[in-house]
Symmetry: C2
Subunit: 179 residues, 2 copies
Amino acid sequence: MSEHPGFTIWFTGLSGAGKTTISEIVAPALRERGLKIEVLDGDVVRTNLSKGLGFSKEDRDTNIRRIAFVADLLSRNGVGVITAAISPYREIRREARSTMGERFIEVYVKASVEACAERDVKGLYEKAFKGEIKEFTGVSDPYEEPEHAEIIVDTENESPEESAQKVIAFVEEKIGVTA
Amino acid sequence: MSEHPGFTIWFTGLSGAGKTTISEIVAPALRERGLKIEVLDGDVVRTNLSKGLGFSKEDRDTNIRRIAFVADLLSRNGVGVITAAISPYREIRREARSTMGERFIEVYVKASVEACAERDVKGLYEKAFKGEIKEFTGVSDPYEEPEHAEIIVDTENESPEESAQKVIAFVEEKIGVTA
């Protein structure tokens, strides 16, 4: 495998917006292009790096800082990292961007709370609306939209394949690889 | 920079045995040989991955599992990782070895409690003997010596340069690089 510059595709968006679904299309497509890819999914990270943390602002910030720490280590060594955590707070995403500089690619996976609640793949929105889950992003906890995302994908009006293609095309252009 | 296989040099030993000192000689020497090197020092990791964890067996195990998780991510992508945490428990080191397989190089940095206490670079042993620090490895908490370390360095009878040279020679042989 030849040497490519590393990067971090930082998906951000509500639970159910499509972050994991899109990342699961993007990851193998980029591997086919000869890139080394690691996915730091929200759930994987909560298990391996952040067990014991809750969903208060402080704990969420700690969780996201850990993801950024690991993404920085990998991406500065030529790995393409894909993160798929909600990462609701602008300030911490800005911190991650500042650590990784040009390697940071923010992707806003945009879908309204209503659309995500209608999908409700994990049944979490129903519980959140009933108050059975506290501090649920978009319902009882804030989500701060990105202001300068490199890529916006609108999953209410695009298929996962269309959204993934936007991300793949951006990386192809940036890194200079093709299928 | 050309592509080399990744590996993890896993230093283990008492506080003050010389893990960080040796790693600070090994890291630049391996970089000079064209390898990508990242150091996951105990203190760095406690700040960035494990803030809030204490020194109970459970918390120590969690800390070491996180280091192993990150070392695995890096080393499977061609990075040479150097970890320098006490990692006192055999079982968790075995778990790390089992995750990383052939990439795992265990280095036992051997020095007696008496020798480390005499050096007492950080003044921690004095506090531990007085009971001001609880759960201090080698004093009030166990240290389980490695049984099958790839390398043993005896820092009571070797200079840091001599110890570092053993590690460097092992990696040169394993990866096929030279100065």
